[in-house]
Subunit: 430 residues, 2 copies
């Protein structure tokens, strides 16, 4: 990948979190400033990524996928940060997953050359851009989802008049009744596979499904649901293979969010008439979190045998720091962060650390009673028991639940060492 355009980009105080009175600097120069979050060098609220936890998570997932033999195309929509994509590829990822053509374009711009789009391709601008990217970059491998004959017909209509030196490649999506996208039945799915295989513009490169929305954290039940879905993928793959519908030298089978990727890694691999590439698409593992995915990790570990249970799991790498701005009545403090700064869609942020300048040598764990009860646009409501009160001016570091919806609130997140000194900045592209 080529990150130079990002590393040479100049940031200044127009970017949320950047030192208010600091000089404009290229991203490559930020680490050398040794800004201290705890000393108040950066304004709050501030989203930080802990380098040590991020590095741990890269290594953990590299080892996990290596131990199971599956490939990884981490979902880039989580971070939309090419700098993190580069780390993921350096840690052995096969490619990057995206959610739409805008995200594909960013991947290609910064040098990613294997991309899955875990979504249906549609639209004149979008199909045209994909064809252009495929023509401009003969080394680009790109697979998108098809789940209906209507979708394929729309693509063919747009593609027909265009000059294409190779076909587009698509995965048929198998869905779940009551679920999201994806053909609901074997009959519907194989019908779509047949029209793709017969298409002049599109070739069938494999099958896709997504189990993530079904996972509730009850391991016995989750296992049955995922097993069942993977079995349906196998049945469809065998039928498509038997009919010779798959084009290309290998067949892609892909599934896997961040909640039950271990079950997918165990169940999805299979033998077909050509080599099978089994690809997980987990995205949230990379920063992990302190909420939903941290709860789901217990299931992953318990299902993965003693070696993985005794080993440290994924570590929460992302924190949002803010300040106690008011303690207006017993049991209530207001923090200087809100819905613009931290995820609130799965859980409220989770207070983890506090720091009182001039008193604490390092951040301390917060008392057990501390909870974020609510957030407005720019405020968080911290509730606590009377004997565990913070003071006006204290810093509070919160973990978050659901990395995706914190990343998209920041144009740049600052990476920090274990002493909360800034080591760099990660640019996002939402």
């Amino acid at each position: 990948m080529n990150l130079d355009p990002i590393l040479s980009e100049t940031l200044d105080a127009a970017t949320k979190g950047y030192p208010l009175s600091g000089p404009a600097l290229p991203i490559s120069a930020i680490g050398a400033q040794r800004w201290s979050v705890l000393a108040g060098d950066l304004p709050l609220p501030l989203a930080v990524i802990r380098d040590s936890a991020l590095a741990h998570n890269h290594a953990w997932m590299r080892d996990f996928t290596a131990s199971t033999g599956v490939l990884l195309a981490p979902h880039g929509k989580t971070t939309m940060a090419p700098q993190i994509f580069a780390q993921q590829l350096a840690a052995g990822a096969w490619g990057i997953t995206v959610a739409n053509v805008h995200q594909l374009g960013l991947c290609v711009r910064f040098g990613v050359r294997r991309v899955l789009m875990a979504n249906q391709l549609l639209g004149a601008a979008e199909v045209g851009a994909v064809i252009r990217l495929m023509e401009e970059h003969p080394d680009l491998e790109f697979h998108f989802l098809v789940d209906s004959q209507a979708q394929l017909a729309a693509i063919e209509k747009i593609a027909a008049p265009q000059k294409m030196s190779r076909k587009l490649t698509a995965l048929v999506e198998l869905g779940l009744p009551g679920g999201r996208t994806g053909a609901r039945t074997f009959d519907e799915a194989i019908a779509v596979a047949r029209v793709v295989a017969a298409s002049k513009s599109v070739a069938l490169s494999g099958l896709e499904c997504y189990e993530g929305l079904q996972i509730i954290g009850d391991s016995g039940r989750d296992q049955i649901v995922v097993d069942g879905l993977m079995q349906r993928v196998h049945d469809l793959a065998l039928a498509c293979d038997r009919e010779g519908l798959f084009a290309g030298p290998s067949i892609i089978l892909t599934a896997g969010g961040s909640a039950a990727f271990d079950i997918v890694a165990r169940d999805l691999p299979m033998k077909l008439s050509k080599p099978v590439l089994t690809i997980l698409r987990s995205g949230c593992y990379v920063t992990h979190d302190s909420g939903f995915y941290n709860r789901m990790l217990e299931g992953v570990k318990s299902r993965s045998g003693t070696a993985w249970q005794s080993r440290p799991g994924l570590k929460p790498a992302i924190e949002v720091w803010s300040r106690v701005q008011s303690c207006p009545e017993p049991g209530l403090a207001l923090l200087t962060m809100g819905k613009r700064d931290a995820s609130f869609d799965l859980d409220m942020p989770i207070p983890g650390k506090r720091y009182r300048a001039g008193i604490d040598a390092a951040p301390q764990p917060v008392p057990a009673s501390w909870k974020i009860a609510n957030m407005n646009d720019q405020h968080a409501y911290l509730r606590f028991s009377a004997d565990e009160a913070p003071q006006v001016g204290d810093l509070v570091g919160c973990g978050i639940s659901h990395p995706c919806t914190t990343f998209d609130k920041w144009r740049a997140l600052f990476t920090v060492d274990d002493d909360y000194r800034v080591t760099g900045a990660i640019r996002t592209f939402f």
Copy 2:
């Protein structure tokens, strides 16, 4: 204001919503391209602002505040778009309100010279930046909130060693029991006002409160709650005035969100020993919405007399367009937008228009049964009755509920005329 740095900024397909295969262009050149949303020139999802509705809302609020005699410092946190701030000031706004010092810095950078910060000031970086801005810009008028003696002491400690050619100016915040920030009682509030008035670094410039979180849309009850709060502001203002605590040639009294600003405009003005500047801080009026604030507008109109009831009210100016990507089972369609693209904190997006290329001459109203039931990060679940089904490929335009949390999902929102041709781009700074 000086918008040249924004208008000369070059956008390209790295920005979500920008044409995928379009040339990089300065923002000032975008309108001349005449891109068509309906023709699919821009990828979806896409957030657009309708010029005609935006202009109507500017005029409506100008007339409303003029008719009541109050001033307006619209909350800039809603849009964080200096281009919209400039429109608001051109329409007669007294200044701009912000939520933190980062937002203050952006206002000053682009030329706003009257700023209220509807939040407590704290922190070495933040206080230092405010002092620097006040020194660099002698014409900058900036008022922040104080609600505790602890906060004032912290500011004084940071300010004491610094060279200041004038004092900072603060508003004492009066709060509500069970509410957010703000001194809870008269005694607490006047004690804070007295220490501010005695401060070497800070002068007392007025009083602030915020009624917006108390508004439920029951006009009788809302009126009683707001009346009560305004009465408490009056009592405190009279006491402070009697004690000579207010410095400066005039006294600021400010309140007012976007849900019940009419009650504030009627109740808050009062006579004191110096001229009183009564300032509303409504932010969401500027684009209005199709959900929460649209419901609240009914109360505003019903309370404001026949002239305002017969006149068209604020118009929803912001829409998020996406595409039907899949119709996988009866009654369900998936749209290509999600939590990264549209507000979901107060209500789900509200389907308003649909457009089928090649069939419809213009967007059509959607059937009554259409509802967004849920959103994931990148998908929306559209539910409908069987006889009112969309088709794969259809465009759907949704209104949103709560403008703030849609603006912060876009680095640029495109303005459109009534035919959905792009007339420009509005840059945001979140």
